[in-house]
Amino acid sequence: MYYLRLVFILFFSYSFYDAQSIYSSYGLGLPRSSFYTSENGLGSIGLVPNFVNKVSIGNPSTWKYLKNAYINSTYESQSFSLKESISSSESSQFGGIQFLVPIRNTYAVGLSVKPVNSLNTFFKTDTASYLMHDENLSLHKEFKSGGGVMASSFAFSLPINAKMNVGLSFDSFFGSSRTEKSIILNNVYYRSLGINTFKGSKYNVFFSGDFFESEKIILSIYSGIVKTNKPLSAYVYNFDLFEDTDGDLIPTSNDFPKNTNVDTLKVENIYAPNAFSLGFNIDFKNSLNTYFEFQLWNDNAQNIKSLGLFNDQIVSNSHIGTGIVKFGNMNDKDWQDKITFRLGVYRKDYKLLSIGNNIIENGLSLGLGIKFGNTANQLDLSYKNGSRTSENNFSETFKQFSIGISVGDIWFLRRRAKQ
């Protein structure tokens, strides 16, 4: 039954394979720093206001400024192309979903589910044909990985004083990933499969405060600290190489060998993120804001081998970003004043464990936010264009389009007594 359950997971998971960055093939893939469309549109890591004025939906310490409870969800579509390759890869996937409730303009709580890492990759090689012992042999390879680490999060915020707030969130990691390496000889697949299931947790502390205010501007400071509570552990199931004779993707008695061996092991400490983030925001009091953010992120995990397609690990990342945002106001007359405009640029510097050369990611992002309805519903759109380069390694460009829907409602509002 245990084996059957594994096979079922494997079979089911094939429905959710995506194509994504080649760098998602390293270990647990690229760590995500933004989850929602409003963050993507600003090129932000979610520290500074990006959703509405004074509010970042990624920063719990800002949630008390929300006027409504919200359900946010984001869906992303990406296109990747390698410099060395004429083809490109497209994919789309769920970005995150969140439920936020501000309480009497003082407190706030939130629940969310979001992907923490991206392992989605699909690449293949050109077909080579040659003669081997009187047999015409065509050969190519396919590599796929999918799934990743998800986090279910509970967060709340508290005021420190009238101008400062603190937010706490606890992320419980879960999810599974799978890898498939195939060599295809005369249309017969020889596959090796891996399945990993994850468990772990971390917590985050956020801070926001208005530190300077004049007639024209408000200077706010935002910060965040990420600490691992329980490093990610995984049950790793590695299926030995098998000939997929019946072409049903999973090892069965119709394949060779009839009984594919599965190695099962528990691996501890495969992901232990720690980060410090700092952001500055200047509110020009005319709905225009400009920001600056940076983040130092590192993974202290030590047992990352055999989880991804390539045996490597992104051990650290530094992020720096800046941009401007003009928040829309539902009460303005002109339509352009009702729309939120976002523009940002950023740079990330990933360091891999084994490869000496860092991966440099540069990105430019644009975003819109359109409010509608009586409860300040918001439709967010973002477009991000960037590149990842590494000396003596892959160079890729990517485009990302994301759409976010935030549905507002009013909770914890005192109702009038019936007359």
Partner: protein
């Protein structure tokens, strides 16, 4: 105004739909997974002879030809009739002992064999015996041969008549009901139901009949004609048929010629099989690798491109093989029947994929692997296929392994 429920549904839909498009194309520089190959020459090879076994053949043979003598064809009828007959007492007539009933009288019994060829005219005399003194199994398609077949049969109980119609010919034996009574003795409910068909005066070589292995449309049968006295005024004449479910020709092969043992020879009717020994030495499958193919390759001596016979090969558990031709009265080598392989001759080459066998053999830390080769049962039994043996330099038989590495 956007409908909120529609938004919720759209969000859920987006959550569950993730679409896959084209993969990225990469150059295969240092990617894992590769294919490799290794070959081993066959170390020793020889041919041996055992009494021919014709079990499983599509045809039964009777007569003589080219030194072959088809002594008998043994056949066994099913104890169940093809259709059930219900008599007035509520009893069902199906098995042979069911005919023992006061309301049943056997009129006649007829055994019919179907010739492969039509318009048969012959002065040969076909005869029938049965086995009243053998209580259980009379013959085994896997073991009975001209040296050990069961001769505890009766005197001749019937001579056959050849019946020709426009499209086919049949051989019919009328069996006296007194013999049939031995079948339906209530004390022998599990009687052997077996017959031996023989022949005298085989001036026209041999005769072929369809075997039970050829399918239902040509199957021979035992017909039982009987009367059923349903009541004082009603008597029903009817018949039941019992198909032949097992059969075997007992064949005495001719003496071997010198050419039969010069190379690696296989022949069904002569009982020729060949043996091959391979030493893979210290080689073992690299960790995590699997066999794509483990081909045992032999080359046919005769240049006959139309030849596409199917040959079987089995892993043997024996390590020591005879160095020269040997003749045995029974099979002395032990086959690993779960690790066999079949291959069709193609362009004079024969390639068995023995990856299952070799996986097993290597997993048992063996370096010596022995195989036998023999014709499949549907090969023309009189055909002798000869392959180059280890004396050949150019066409030396070999084991070629192709494997995939992680």
């Amino acid at each position: 105004m956007l409908n909120r429920q529609a938004i919720y549904l759209a969000s859920l839909l987006l959550y569950f739909i993730s679409c896959e498009e084209k993969p990225l194309m990469l150059n295969d520089l240092d990617l894992s997974l590769s294919v490799d190959t290794v070959s081993f020459d066959v170390l020793e090879s020889t041919t041996y002879q055992v009494p021919p076994l014709m079990g499983g053949s599509k045809y039964l043979y009777l007569g003589q030809d080219s030194g072959y003598t088809f002594d008998y064809s043994y056949i066994r009828a099913s104890k169940f009739s093809n259709s059930q007959y219900y008599i007035s007492s509520g009893k069902t007539i199906s098995q042979l002992h069911d005919y023992v009933d006061s309301s049943i009288v056997i009129d006649s019994v007829k055994l019919t064999l179907n010739f492969v060829d039509d318009s048969i005219t012959s002065n040969s005399l076909f005869y029938l015996r049965y086995f009243p003194n053998v209580s259980d199994s009379v013959f085994s398609r896997n073991n009975s041969n001209y040296l050990n077949y069961n001769t505890n049969y009766s005197d001749i109980i019937s001579y056959g008549n050849i019946i020709n119609d426009t499209t086919s010919s049949k051989l019919e034996f009328l069996v006296d009901t007194s013999y049939f009574n031995a079948f339906i003795d209530t004390n022998i409910t599990d009687f052997n139901n077996a017959f031996a068909v023989g022949i005298y005066n085989t001036e026209f070589g041999f005769y072929r009949f369809y075997s039970a292995n050829n399918g239902q449309s040509t199957v021979s049968n035992l017909s039982i004609y009987f009367k059923h006295f349903a009541n004082d005024t009603l008597t029903i004449d009817t018949l039941s048929s019992h198909n032949i479910i097992d059969d075997l020709t007992i064949l005495t092969p001719p003496k071997l010629e010198e050419a039969d043992t010069l190379n690696l020879s296989i022949s069904l009717a002569k009982g020729l099989k060949s043996l091959l020994k391979i030493d893979t030495g210290l080689w073992e499958m690299p960790k995590g690798g699997i066999f794509r193919k483990a081909e045992l390759i032999l080359n046919l001596i005769t240049e006959d491109s139309s030849n596409s016979e199917i040959i079987n090969s089995y892993l043997l558990t024996d390590i020591d093989l005879p160095s020269t031709f040997n003749k045995y009265e029974k099979e002395i080598f032990t086959y690993d029947l779960t690790n066999g392989s079949s291959a069709a001759l193609s362009n004079t080459k024969l390639k068995f994929n023995h990856r299952s066998a070799l996986s097993k053999s290597l997993s048992e830390k063996k370096s010596i692997h022995t195989f036998n080769i023999q014709p499949n049962i549907d090969v023309d039994p009189f055909k002798i296929l000869q392959f180059y043996d280890t004396k050949s330099v150019e066409f030396h038989p070999k084991l070629r392994i192709t494997y995939v590495l992680p």
